[in-house]
Assembly symmetry: C2
Homo-oligomer: 357 residues x 2
């Protein structure tokens, strides 16, 4: 009863996708374990270059013979404002001082450099014959989508509203991940970046499935068999889970990040622009609180992301959770530190039990 | 399979509660129809005095012999700031002018007067032997809860976080409505009024049911059999639906309010403080946009509510949707203009179909 169009299309046992978490969380061990235990492991290649992307694809291939996927960030044009960068520097300087970071020259990317890197990643996905490729932060151009499909690669888009889902379907992509307001990490919104795009899954799933023909995968706050079956009842064909896999033993998340989630509650995660210039949900900490008042005036993604990189890195090395990005969805009370095998087994057993009750 | 602890306790056929919508929406026709077709109709007595409350209870009694309930707003202490009232007046004056409202003297309530009125309403609920009484915006004092229970009245609280749910259970109430971020109308939050209390149902339901013993009713964005079954899978024992009943023929909502919802989409509802001083979700209109920038500086509930009363009333009489409060949850695409009988039948049929699939 957990087999459907999605498990068939993706050639997996259970309609469970591990959310591609960029920045070292989706380790090869995590991706391969998920695929080995019947789900779909996803490499979070958003912040990688083409070489790093190829390296991890090859590593994953050596540890699983099952299907897996790669997720890429679609570059979007952004404003470079010297005034905003000065504001960020004013706010970040005391933090750098506190963390004893040498004031090094920080380089910020250009749209053109990001696009070049993105195109090289797409080439790698095709050359390495990765079976599944998903995108967040926008829709790549049609030429790329068509090229991937010509190579029999299944293409997945990410939407936060019905309008975005309809746009994705129009491009000929195969599947849509719908990201509810419950989701941890970055918002995938690419049409209208207001509170209007923060739609809970109870509302988002049925309204999207009523308006598109291609299968829908639900993401946001789903942690167990209850969330899986509820999503299927609402009309989704599968789920994508981030936080649940982030606290697993195989994940590369910092131990303090895992601990923060394991000791957090649903009313301790907030949306912030402070880390990257793009709205993202994480456990509230000193960094988020300190920058809260000015966060709307900070530079756009990915400028702000580059500006905070040294801080996040130093905080991580110094085991200082005050300045780390502690991404989490709204269900931290349901998180456990366990193996991927155990998590997968529990989800499936619970789902079957609910379905048969 | 739709029978459970809640249908037994409330003595209803289906675990479907009509959300008590104050301000004339929960007409006697709406409340009675819901109860007559197997759900639980609820009188939204939040803005009524004791006499009005008694009148509607008696009206409902004449049109249904089934169980129904009354919802009361728990008065909470609030700040009265002349500076905030001046700001509101500055912003509201041009709107009053546009609507050609005579500048009449507006009276704002005191906490003491609200408390007195609330206590008189509680007396009415007991005297009229209303079988169910629910509360929003807080927890009434223990003496009231105990008095209601001594009279065999089932008492329901409203929570938006796990902490609030635990508080409600501690007082001895019988049931908890958990209000997800998807919900239309006023937020029931009473502990911490930040974005932290905006939790989607996919996250909120399982985390609450894991932390309380009493049955949980899910509210927010639920419109059909899919939402009902999904809520039950997540651990709720029933649902409370507002927007789905608001657009029904029997509801007293203004025709333009119903039309606004019927032509709206999930990305057109927003949270605003502009109408009442308390965060509430509705379809974005000119009033919300005009006051958006200053909304956090406006007077507290219920002061702001009193200040905008003449505007909402005039807008309603003049059929001007720009200045009406168009409360709606995040699932307006699923709303239909139909009879309560038809809505109830469709929910139940769809739920059974999903459950058996």
């Amino acid at each position: 009863m957990l087999n459907n169009k999605i498990t068939e299309l993706l050639n997996i046992d259970y309609p469970i996708i591990q959310a591609p978490m960029a920045g070292g969380i989706s380790t090869t061990a995590l991706v391969s374990s998920v695929s080995n235990y019947g789900g779909l492991g996803m490499i979070g290649a958003g912040y990688m270059n083409a070489i790093q992307t190829r390296d991890q694809i090859r590593e994953v291939r050596q540890t699983t013979s099952n299907n897996f996927g790669v997720n890429l960030f679609v570059p979007t044009e952004f404003q470079r404002s010297d005034e905003k960068i000065r504001l960020a520097d004013d706010l970040l300087s005391p933090i750098r001082e506190q963390l004893e970071i040498e004031n090094s020259k920080i380089s910020t990317p250009t749209y053109e450099s990001l696009l070049e890197s993105f195109n090289a990643q797409v080439d790698v996905v095709i050359e390495e014959k990765v079976p599944i490729c998903s995108f967040t932060f926008g829709i790549p151009n049609l030429e790329i989508i068509n090229r991937l499909k010509q190579h029999n690669i299944i293409v997945i888009g990410t939407a936060t509203t019905v309008s975005e889902a309809i746009e994705i379907e129009r491009t000929g992509m195969d599947l849509i991940v719908v990201q509810g307001s419950e989701a941890g990490g970055h918002r995938g919104t690419f049409i209208n970046d207001g509170q209007e795009s923060l739609v809970g899954l109870m509302s988002l799933i049925p309204q999207v499935v009523d308006n598109v023909m291609i299968p829908v995968i639900a993401a946001g706050g789903i942690m167990d068999g209850r969330g899986l079956i509820a999503s299927l009842c609402l009309g989704a064909k599968g789920v994508q889970m981030g936080t649940a896999f982030l606290t697993c033993m195989e994940s590369g998340a910092h131990e303090l990040h895992k601990e923060a989630i394991l000791h957090s509650s649903e009313d301790q995660t907030v949306l912030t622009r402070a880390f990257s210039g793009k709205w993202a949900r994480g456990v509230k900490n000193k960094f988020i609180k300190d920058l809260h008042e000015d966060e709307r005036a900070l530079p756009d993604f990915p400028i702000q992301n580059s500006l905070t990189q040294d801080i996040r890195k130093a905080a991580s090395l110094q085991n200082n959770r005050d300045f780390m990005s502690l991404w989490s969805g709204q269900s931290p009370r349901l998180a456990k530190n366990q193996s991927v095998e155990m998590l997968m087994k529990k989800i499936v057993d619970e789902a079957i039990k609910i379905k048969n009750s």
